[in-house]
Structures are given as structure tokens and as C-alpha cells.
Symmetry: C2
Subunit: 209 residues, 2 copies
Amino acid sequence: MRFYDCKTAPSPRRARIFIAEKGIEIETVEVDLRSGEHLKEEFVALNAHATVPVLQLEDGTCLSSTTAIWHYLDAVHPDPPLMGASPIERGRVADLQWHIEMGGFMAMAEYMRNSAQGFKGRALTGPVKYDQIPALAERGKQRIERFLAEVDDLVGEKPFVAGDAFTVADIDLLVLIDFAAWRKLALPADATHARRWYDAVSARPSAAL
Amino acid sequence: MRFYDCKTAPSPRRARIFIAEKGIEIETVEVDLRSGEHLKEEFVALNAHATVPVLQLEDGTCLSSTTAIWHYLDAVHPDPPLMGASPIERGRVADLQWHIEMGGFMAMAEYMRNSAQGFKGRALTGPVKYDQIPALAERGKQRIERFLAEVDDLVGEKPFVAGDAFTVADIDLLVLIDFAAWRKLALPADATHARRWYDAVSARPSAAL
């Protein structure tokens, strides 16, 4: 098994933290996105979508989405359960994770990819070139600001996003907040539940990865 | 348990077909999106995202994303396995489903919501009003056309998208193709594998729902 990673990108970090929390050892290959290694023939042969992370399994199957990597590893290594233990928890964690991905990561991607100079002509991941759309950058920024304003209510008094246990919903929210901070977008100053939660999850050894 | 549905929208159909394939009976409530019932106080109290489908569980939990509804029901009713039986299948099905959702449904949503008269001022689902972005409609149309051109290779010689068994990857691809047809976008005429697959899955009783 081989994990194709990139230390500077947010998506692979979602998989890295999961792998660390499960306590799994996987051979890791660093892919240099800055020099465009993900767009080269050798890498596109593994993943036609030209994105990281990728988990290559023993039989050659390449999983090229974070959720698929999570589902595979969770089925092979059920403990600790990071995607919910009971059916209700599995549903609730999947729901929270999906909303954080759609409302948070998709909004950040809209903002970043349609405004940053380095993404000119590359407004979507993948091999096809798409021009930046300035109005979409603006919409993405509005959306991520609205999302960050709602994190305090999302977390509330609970130790973790989904309740008493650390799950993929915490992984996604942590990675998203650090990604947003890179563009100077932060949790509101009075988001005390969210800040308490953020400090706790950031202190876990997996968060340093 | 109660399922909040809308017969005319593509997302709830993804859950409806899944429920039918599992052979589960669930009390269903029709939500009239055309008259804006999903934006009214009573419904937003169940689902702040103001979208269908919603699955309300016995304990009051409301799952408001199709994937969460699938994961909950799959954990309670594992047979037939619609999300993969083995760990590798679970990973592969999750991967295919994610790519169909991102490359297919997201592209259709970009196209539809940013061009149709009926979505003026409602370019994203949810309670917040966002203006349509014409350039995003155009990009969405290009993306969905590219996606449809690739379905033949995605299906290939296999009976189903993920291999020998019908899964959520088939559900999503079927619903997507019918959704695209509604806007006069179709599989290429020479997509023989895709058309053979489409005819087979469309003939299943669940597809009539």
C-alpha cells in the first residue's frame, strides 16, 4: 500500500490525520504540486483526476478521493471508529462531514482558486484548464465567512463536532479552519465554543501532521 | 422514521432508489419545492439547510444529506450491500460515487442554478440568496458535457459502474443522466457501453421511482 501525499495542500492532510489517528503505518510518497508533478504522465496514469491524496492498494486499485480512502481504511481498521460507531452515529458523522465539505471546503476552493494568482487558468483541480471567475471568488469568500460564523453553534458545548468522540467531522473542520487562516479568514473572536474545540483538537499529535 | 421527499427533484430520487433497492418501507412526506415549502419555518426547523431529502430518525435526528441517509440505512440494513461488500469494494464505490457527485451533480447544479429563470436569486440551495453567475453556468455546461463524454469509459464492459453488483455509483449515475436529459444533454450516440448500462439500470423497478 502506498499513500501519495503533499505536505502543503489541505486535502491530503485530511487523510494524513485519519491515518495517524488510526495508528496505521503506510509508505508515503510526496508529490510536488508546485512543480506540477501531479500533472505529469506518470502520476495521471495512477489518478486521471490529477489530484492528491491517492491511496494505492496492494491489488493496484487507486483511491483518489479522501472519503474513499477513509472508507477503505475504516473497513480494514475499524478501531478507533472515526466515522461513527453505531448506525445513528455513522449517519450523523456522514451528515456533518458532508456539510463541512460542501459549505466549507467547496467555498474555500471557490474563493482561492478563482482569486489567487497561482491558480490562473487552473480554477478547478484536474487536467482541464478553466479560467478564473472573479464573481465566484467573491461568492466563495462570502460563503466561507458565513460558514466560519456558524462554527460556534455547530460545535456548541460538545467535546467534539459529532458528540463525545473524535471523528472525521473534527478532521475536516480543523483542516478547513487552518486552510482559511492561510487566507487571513478566522473564527469570530467571540466564538468561544469553537475556539475551545479548536485548541483541543489542534493539541492532538495527529494535528501536527 | 420519516422520509421528506420531493418527486420532481434529483437529490431525493438518489435516496428513494436506495430505499427501494434495500426493500425498506418508510413513511414519506412530500415537500413542495415549487411553492417554497422547504423555506418555511416548519421545515427549516427540521433542516436548517432547507433542502430535501431529509430522513428523520426515531430519536429526532434529521439527516439532511443523501450520503448520510445512505450510510445510516446501510448500517441498519446491510443487505443487499449497495456501498460495497468488502473493504476494497467499499473504497472503490465511495471513490466512484464521490467523483460522480463532484464531476456530475456539481457541474449540473452550476449550469442549472446559474441559468434557469426559476433559480434567479437562488443560485445555491439553502436559505441565503445568491445571484446567478452567467460564467459559472457556462463552465457548468462545459463540465457536464465533458463528464457525459467520459461515461462510456467509466462503465466499460462491466455490468455495473463498480463491477458485478449494483451500487450507489449506479444510482448516482442514473439520476444524473436523467437530470441532464431534462436540460437536453445526453450521452454521446456512440457511447455503447454507457447506453447498454443505462437501459439495464433504467429497467429496474427502483428506477421508476
